[in-house]
Amino acid sequence: MEDFELMNTIKVERAKRNMSQADLAFQISVSRKTINTIETGKFVPSTIIALRIAQVFNTTVESIFQIKEPL
């Protein structure tokens, strides 16, 4: 499990909607730091947070989060 990396498109989705990290953080009730660590892949969010992020962007979790397969 350690070899897998969780990629995400949060930054892209935010840019499309002209949304700041603070806006997204506010909408899902987490700190901006948490959004930043999720975005940079340092923190793997729970299913609830992942679902809430997808809900804000009106899309599916799979389109936001992808697992990068090990080489």
Partner: protein, 148 residues
């Protein structure tokens, strides 16, 4: 929009304050307990002119830190949304990891003390004092490091 920015700004300010007071509290605890352990076991009756002020200063810093943290926690209880933001899952995870680090540091200290006690007599109170010191300091430092 202003509300979002205001809430996030307040959250970041309070988060900064929380870390700041945890650092001060930890420093106070280290000064107070470190000097107390040294005065009681390492240099009994010696260096009192240095150790006694260290104990006093440490106690004051520790108490101020505790007071500020409890004030912050009271403020958070009044603001439900900020309370949720400042206790989100990442912070809860860091807290859990810090407690785990503290626990393992405490167990390692106990094992070390047990080994030392085979060759050098070790009082049980000193063992407890050292274990508490190591446990609290390592948990506190671990939280600060994880939450950088």
């Amino acid at each position: 929009m202003e509300d979002i920015e205001e809430t996030q700004m307040l959250a970041e300010r309070w988060e900064g304050d929380r870390i700041k007071w945890i650092k001060w509290m930890l420093l106070g605890f280290m000064l107070w307990d470190g000097a107390r352990i040294s005065e009681k076991y390492l240099f009994p009756g010696q260096y009192e002119f240095v150790l006694a002020p260290m104990i006093a200063i440490g106690t004051i810093i520790w108490m101020v830190g505790m007071l500020k943290l409890s004030q912050l926690s009271k403020l958070l209880k009044k603001n439900k949304q900020l309370n949720i933001i400042l206790n989100d899952e990442m912070i809860v995870l860091h807290r859990l990891k810090a407690f785990t680090t503290g626990f393992y540091a405490l167990v390692a200290t106990q094992v070390l003390i047990q080994f030392i006690s085979y060759s050098h007599p070790f009082s049980s109170i000193l063992a407890a004092d050292i274990s508490i010191f190591v446990g609290v300091v390592s948990a506190g430092v671990a939280f600060i490091v994880y939450h950088r």
